[in-house]
């Protein structure tokens, strides 16, 4: 469904990605793990059009979308939940969700999806009129995911949803990620520094190191891989 070939990205004169290739098959959860600064976020930013790729290509749903603008990419059903959540702090929870549905015109469908978001994350419903900036980190992450789902994506890219969040809420969030993948057939590309967590829910994984994929395998195999265990699973 999503295919990245030999992606190259530079910040000024510094090359951050040296030809990254990965595949995310339909309805699967694929994870991209790697240390801080490996280039995980850069990969997602290039896919969603936030930064220009200097080389390589991105294909989505069989069509090339390399270097299209972010609003064009999201309109095709590929939605990116950025690192650090980026909720609209001075908008209410409800307005944040409405922003997620920015490209949609079907009022009834939007209403239905707001309700669905609230059954996923009941904590958000209790805080519907609260400004997003006043939510806890975990609640903001829930809102960021719910907001992305409001665009009715077919493929979701999540950048470190566990970052800086209380363990209890991380569990709730990861449970929901698995659930939307199973129930709604959503394809997911999950970026994580927490490899344990990510590999536990993924089907397939890629390991990124200084802008290159150094390893790829099924998630189960990666969890057994000595190299991964030592470097990323803390053994």
């Amino acid at each position: 469904m999503l295919e990245v070939n030999q992606l190259e990205v530079s910040y000024g004169t510094i090359k951050a990605l040296h030809g990254v290739s990965l595949k995310v098959p339909e309805k699967s959860i694929v994870t991209l793990i790697g240390a801080n600064g490996a280039g995980k976020s850069t990969t997602l930013r290039a896919i969603s059009g936030l930064i220009r790729a200097g080389g390589g290509q991105v294909k989505y749903d069989g069509k090339e979308i390399t270097n299209q603008s972010p609003h064009a990419v999201v309109s095709k059903g590929l939605c990116h939940v950025p690192e650090g959540r980026m909720v609209f702090a001075n908008l209410t929870v409800e307005e944040n969700l409405r922003m997620g549905a920015y490209l949609r015109r079907d009022k009834a469908g939007i209403k239905e999806d707001v309700d669905y978001a609230f059954t996923m994350f009941p904590r958000l419903k209790e805080r519907i009129s609260q400004l997003a900036g006043t939510l806890s980190g975990g609640e903001q992450q829930m809102l960021a995911i719910a907001r992305a789902l409001m665009s009715k994506p077919k493929c979701l890219m999540l950048d470190e949803p566990s970052l800086g969040i209380a363990p209890m809420l991380v569990r709730a969030i990861f449970d929901q990620i698995v659930k939307i993948n199973k129930e709604r057939g959503l394809t997911i590309l999950l970026v994580e520094q927490n490899a344990n967590l990510a590999l536990a829910i993924s089907h397939y994984g890629y390991v990124l190191e200084t802008g290159k994929v150094i390893l790829e395998d099924s998630a189960a195999a990666l969890r057994q891989n000595p190299q991964v265990r030592e470097a990323y699973l803390g053994d």
């Binding site: 603008s69 609003h71 609209f88 307005e95 665009s151």
Partner: protein, 307 residues
Amino acid sequence: MDQFVQQLLNGLFLGAIYALIALGYTMVYGVLRFINFAHGDVFMLGAFGGLYVHKALAPLLNALPWPLALAVVMLASMAICAALGIAIEYFAYRPLRNRPRLNVLITAIGVSLFIEYTGQLVFGATQQPFPAIIPRQNISGLGGLTVTMTQVIVVVVTTALLIGLRYIVMRTRLGLAMRALSLNPTAAALMGVNTSVVISFTFGLGSALAAAGGILYASLYPSVDPFMGIQPGIKAFVAAVLGGIGNIPGAALGGMIIGVVETLVTGYSQKLGIPSGYKEGVAFIILILILLFKPSGLLGKVEREKV
């Protein structure tokens, strides 16, 4: 007492116009984080737009009741200036979108000078009288107070525009996109907001309000010249900073305050023993005080990055 109330009223009328201009500064700052120094010149173009539309349509307008004629002149000039504002952003600022902010700021000063001197070339350097679209008459029955029809119209039109603006910003899809963009451009883009469209829309909206302000100002002080936008522009900029740059109600409030303070200083300058020419400096004193004591402005929030 009467004199004080009179001055206060005069200040509010002037302040309403500053508020209209200040809104443009603050909205553009909201979405682009830069001060459009050419905004005062759009205000000037709005006044000239009114003048020329009135000239061109004189036979038609004379046949209409004056409120209708005013509406036609105003809407036409607002539309012209909205288009100009959008064009200014498109040709002058957009190519610099990802450059250091200072480059854009200097460009804005260049655009301002360009408009002023092109204005001098096209409109002539001398002051021209502005037509009395609004009848020049006093409202009677207010005791010792003098209020002109023009002043009433200033308040009515400003109020209507502020309500309309509030509706657009708070209730429409583009308004929501504007607010989202000013809060987090990256996230807004990821939600499908076409940033360029929203920025154009913001320039159009701000310029239309400035044009309305220009016509009202020229009706209040009935002469126009290509440099008439400089002083009100600077004062409105201070008003926007005073209210909290980026904050829409703040800009309206700031405009009112600057108008009142300036008028009171002028009104009482003799009693206080300050030359009345100092009124032009009042705005700057206020600016210095805000920057010293409350840089975020009256209603502004301190910007903080949440990770």
